[in-house]
Symmetry: C2
Subunit: 490 residues, 2 copies
Amino acid sequence: MLGSVDVLGSIDSSINGAGVVGWLPEDFNPTTFIQELVHNIDDIVVNNKCDSQNYKNNNGEREKIVLGRDMHTVSLEITEPDPDDEVTGEREAYMASVLSKYKKTLTEKTNFHLGYPYNLDFDYDALCQLQHFSINNLGDPFIESNYGVHSRQFEVGVLDWFARLWELEKNHYWGYITNCGTEGNLHGILLGREVLPDGILYASQESHYSVFKAARMYRMDCVKVNTLPSGQIDCHDFKAKLLSNKDKPAIVNVNIGTTVKGAVDDLDLVIKKLEEAGFSHDRFYIHCDGALFGLMLPFVKRAPKVSFKKAIGSVSVSGHKFVGCPMPCGVLITRLEHVNVLSRNVEYLASRDATIMGSRNGHAPLFLWYSLNRKGYRGFRKEVQKCLRNAHYLKDRLVEAGIGAMLNDLSSTVVFERPHDEDFVRKWQLACQGNIAHVVVMPSVTISKLDDFLDELVQNRALWFREGKYQPRCIASDVGINNCLCALHS
Amino acid sequence: MLGSVDVLGSIDSSINGAGVVGWLPEDFNPTTFIQELVHNIDDIVVNNKCDSQNYKNNNGEREKIVLGRDMHTVSLEITEPDPDDEVTGEREAYMASVLSKYKKTLTEKTNFHLGYPYNLDFDYDALCQLQHFSINNLGDPFIESNYGVHSRQFEVGVLDWFARLWELEKNHYWGYITNCGTEGNLHGILLGREVLPDGILYASQESHYSVFKAARMYRMDCVKVNTLPSGQIDCHDFKAKLLSNKDKPAIVNVNIGTTVKGAVDDLDLVIKKLEEAGFSHDRFYIHCDGALFGLMLPFVKRAPKVSFKKAIGSVSVSGHKFVGCPMPCGVLITRLEHVNVLSRNVEYLASRDATIMGSRNGHAPLFLWYSLNRKGYRGFRKEVQKCLRNAHYLKDRLVEAGIGAMLNDLSSTVVFERPHDEDFVRKWQLACQGNIAHVVVMPSVTISKLDDFLDELVQNRALWFREGKYQPRCIASDVGINNCLCALHS
């Protein structure tokens, strides 16, 4: 099967001319091949062979292979326009037809989406008029550059809103709108490293992969901490690991909602363990990765607070998740004192550079400003409550149907037994890990959508099990015995 | 004057309630205050005091100040909607009026823009219909994730186009569409570091600031190399510095167009110097920062080639510069063999993570695909030629008017004596450094716009000099004696 993902084939002699792949297929359907490809990849994932594979090339040398290179064959090649295209309008017509079909695909994919924590329900028609402008918030949000086509006045409005949400005063915070949750984590952890240059990074093993990527990028020592079945950081293990590294400061990533299980680390307990292990407040730095729940938690009744009144250094959240946005974006808020260690002047921009990216998407602040202004705290509270209600509904119905499932307190991420059919997984775009899958209940996930999903799952499940080829998976090691409904534990 | 940029004032007691700044000003004009603020900052820059300043706070302690915090007072605060807003439509109406005024400001700012290398002339109306979708190319462009709302088929089409432009075969390259030129540089230099972990980073002192940011982020030793008056890397100095660090591999940033002077480093000479200094090809890695010129150079007659047939490891280019795009974006192309050292698997996404950002803007590939398909190589060649012609026109007219100016071969960046009036600088959004300013002639910069600019400059200049307060600046140390027209050198 892997033969179909061959990167070692002969060099395409047409590389400097027209490609071999026709770019105007009559029956254009990019999804067909992609589905096959994904199928292959998924199988590899299932078989735990997804890592770069070693294969012999023609010379018998072992070379690494990169999976999925066959995307070239489904890609929409760019070709040279004919000289008379402008006259005939052929090119424009072709592109319009590609885009129209693509829109149809996107609509379908959007309708059957459950697995990723993206709110797909938004209406930014009012902002379409601004797509004509190249809006770039170069450098620092608080310092103008000479480039006039920016949206800083909207960006700072958004930042103020988030700083208020997390209880840091206007004059004591710094922040910016990032390109995604990962950039927020990269920035928060970089701040930690600059404040405590020889600090060790601590993160639970269920932290987002960007946290470990940061450690590698920044050449930081990193200690992985165990997790509880809920997905929360195991504070007992955390303290033990702190004690065996007492000589070095601690930079701690705290998950305000883990990626897979939506588990919220106990921030207060983390701080307590640091104190118990003898770390004074100037010897640790906490970054809170609030990708999804950073915005939800403040609206959950009785939830512990993410607040700068506690000993934390930075919080990041994604903008395309709970708020919803056409493209990924995020928010990073930190204490003003921390960012000074990072900043340096760049006269060229007449702007200080304390961001990671420098050139920054000026449209993202407009989307966020628009949504926050429309919904307000009240609107978000309503949406959060609806999501939690719907998540409980989903979890209860799964369990009723005999499907092992878990829903953490404070969370709208329902973890359950991974469906046995990868076509089904792909159709509903479920995110999977080992034996478990999850659905993240976002504002765009309605009861009626959940019902469709549940009915189809229950129906299909009966089929999968009928032939005796499959049986319910054991998910006890993932979510604990109590939540498992396999033959052994039900 | 600095008193107006006070961050040490009392804490706004309204922080958890309504802000003190009205968010519905009758005479909303965000630019007025901003201009004053920029004025202050510019003066500070001129006086070389732009670095974080030390000032005493109320307790007499010295704290660092961050310039420009007064952005809070011009920001568009987000407030809670009234309960009846949905019924009355007040909120929608308010936001529509803010956006309408903002659009007017953007139009003006776009019309008077000369200083930044952004092509502001684009028409993506056909793509507006896709703004309804949350398009995210999670992870690797060549490997599908389970999230179906993506644009990989367009992204890979764009990447193929660039790989062909820089002469790397389809099956031998890897790349992705980045959020901006900086991300391309961060990725290219990270690749270099992963391939040669104890390598030293070499970059000319006129390299983009993101290169030095990368060195700091990645904890790499960095050697700054001198430049010639043109802005090109001084290869004599480069070789000398290589020879004094012979024991460690070299990671070299080569500028395909410096930020300020548009100088193109001599790639062939850089490679020659590495070889002369005894560095075999497995002991150096070259990243080409082609932010602007990476896309222009291939279309300039007799220009040296940026090509993977030479001993280079990666090339990056910005998408919002010569192509033009509503938001910043860029392209990074590298050899497939290099990216393997960086990649790791993330089952959660069913995708490998070799990008920096993970979640990636799926709209940017659509913009690039659309522009490249419409224009093709032929279209870009025409635009590049027009830009170079117009740049020569500008340079010639400046010199005719007695204004010291320089235009590098292969470049459309015209460097000249910094105007004496910061209002003028801001109006035309010129990028300045010390005594020089520049205009980057992009496809959106027409002869008629240049004429307006030149007429106004010449007229104003006469006024500035009339009172004897100012005289032409000496720019010999920036661009060489031959290009200076100050009293001493004219």
